[in-house]
Amino acid sequence: MTVKPSAVPNHKRKTLLPYLLILPTFVFVALFTAWPTLLAIYESFFRQRLNIARFREPTFIGLQNYATLFTDDRFHQVVNNTLIYALGTVPVSIVLGFLFALLVNRSLKGIGWARLAFFHPALLPMVSAATVWKFFFTPDYGLFNSTIRFLGYHGAENWTGNPSLALLAIMLVAMWKNSGYYMLFYLAGLQNLPTDVYEAAALDGANGWQTLWRITFPLLRRTTVFISTIAFIDAFRTVDHIFVLTSGGPSRASTVLLYYLWQLRFENQDIGLSAALTVLFVAVLLVFTITNFIVSERAEEN
């Protein structure tokens, strides 16, 4: 009996099958990731505004949309807000997540409830969470304001309506929502740590802090790198709470990149400018994920 070609391990004979199996995934990625990226690049070279009659048809204007963005104070403010938002929420949420993980990493009756208390915000839709926080931030009788007043704060109370507090308000909601999620990864990491290292440290007379900073934290470095990656991407792409709490205001004080992109496209109906912003946004995300990938590969080698 001759061996059928299909019996060759790995199915090495030439066949269309693997391509057909990948085809559906390929089509959807092409249609909703690759094509829109190319389309945005193309559209960014044209002026087209759907709500202004004489700009309704696209006109080629080269790089003018980019020039408009880069010289626009509003854009500068939005970039600034985005940086503050990301550089503020990400480290704080990660530190809180680490702290929560240390606190709940013990076997104690009822510890499951504590874990649930920290983790449940991650499950809620951001818009629902923000709706509840809207009440918290209510001036006068809102719970957040009542509490910080009780703790001795006597400043402005209209958090979402105050230009210097609105961005902080949406950052607080994000921190509350995300830190319990990051806790999970640290908790998984803590529970997989080798115990013999700790025994050795205890024999050497290391105290609690030394063990924490010299052993636990370095051993969890890969977890931290991983969490930072997802945290930064999330900071760039979650703007749902802004819709509920501040609508980007007052006077753009809490507008971040993605929210601005939404405004340009769906409020101003500005196809060209929103396309240019999409291109910049995608470029930033790509540079970030690729750099991150290279860094974590290197961390793996060490």
Partner: protein, 279 residues
């Protein structure tokens, strides 16, 4: 020595105290929403009076439901989630299998191409994708909400990893026995990979249940609007204003299923969330 045990004990109770207070602070929004939702509608909140009212009532839930068609929003959300899940299970299994099992020309580049979707979040592309939805004539349909997610780079990646972990001997045995590609998937690759598929399914369902911005952009009527978009519209209704007990009830209507599912399948949920961190 006694001093040391004393200090240890102080430290122990200190951390318990910190843990308890932080846990209470973190749970406060949900606890408050629960309490506020059963407060009588006729008793608006005011300074110093923001918890229980004179009685406990479910009228806020009835009233919220009569002001907005939450039943329609529910159906829309469930259909969208199931549609995405149903298609994804098939596409990620097929693509994951192809990338794990076959050697073929262009494999590496095709894989990188698919992974692009993990590097560029779909939300970032909402402006041009909105144009595509218009061109396809899908605007204001449930399909419009779901279709960008029918292919999943993350799911493909996860399934490929799971399939690569299946022992080579087992696969070879299947090939020698004359299994077709479908039988290989069905009887050899899938059984040990089911946990990965479930983890992916749970995280995908939770993710799309909660999604807001994309559905907001591609829907325009209650016929296609999901819960999240419905809730935000509800909060912006003129007559709602500062009726916090009503808002709390509406919020709970939206979050209840996920919270209940979580309480029932807690362990599984947590595993899936850790598993799917890349999302």
């Amino acid at each position: 020595m006694t001093q040391k045990t004393f200090l240890n004990r102080v430290w122990y109770w200190l951390t318990i105290g910190i843990l308890l207070s932080l846990a209470i602070v973190w749970a406060m929004p949900l606890l408050w929403a629960l309490v506020a939702s059963v407060r009588p509608f006729s008793e608006p909140m005011q300074h110093g009076d923001i918890w229980f009212g004179s009685t406990v009532t479910l009228e806020n839930f009835r009233r919220a439901w009569s002001l907005a068609p939450f039943d329609k929003y529910y159906i829309n959300t469930i259909i969208v989630v199931l549609m995405i899940l149903g298609v994804q299970v098939v596409t990620v299994t097929m693509a994951g299998f192809a990338f794990a099992h076959y050697q073929f020309f262009g494999k590496k580049w095709l894989f990188i191409f698919v992974l692009l979707q993990m590097m560029i979040p779909t939300t970032a592309l909402l402006a041009p994708n909105f144009g595509t939805i218009r061109t396809l004539g899908l605007f204001d349909t449930r399909l419009a909400i779901a279709i960008p997610y029918f292919g999943s780079a993350f799911g493909t990646f996860l399934m490929r990893q799971a399939f690569l972990g299946v022992p080579r001997d087992l696969v070879d045995a299947g090939i020698i026995d004359g299994c077709s590609w479908w039988q290989l998937v069905r009887h050899i690759y899938l059984p040990p990979s089911i946990p990965s598929l479930i983890a992916f399914g749970i995280s995908s369902a939770a993710w799309h249940w909660n999604e807001f911005l994309w559905p907001l952009v591609v829907t325009n009527s209650d016929a296609s609007r999901p819960l999240t978009v419905g809730l935000v519209r509800f909060t912006q209704l003129g007559e709602i204003g500062a009726r916090w007990s009503l808002l709390a009830a509406a919020t709970l209507i939206v979050v209840a299923p996920l919270l209940l599912a979580f309480l029932i399948f807690q362990r599984r949920f947590i595993q899936s969330f850790i598993h799917s961190g890349i999302k």
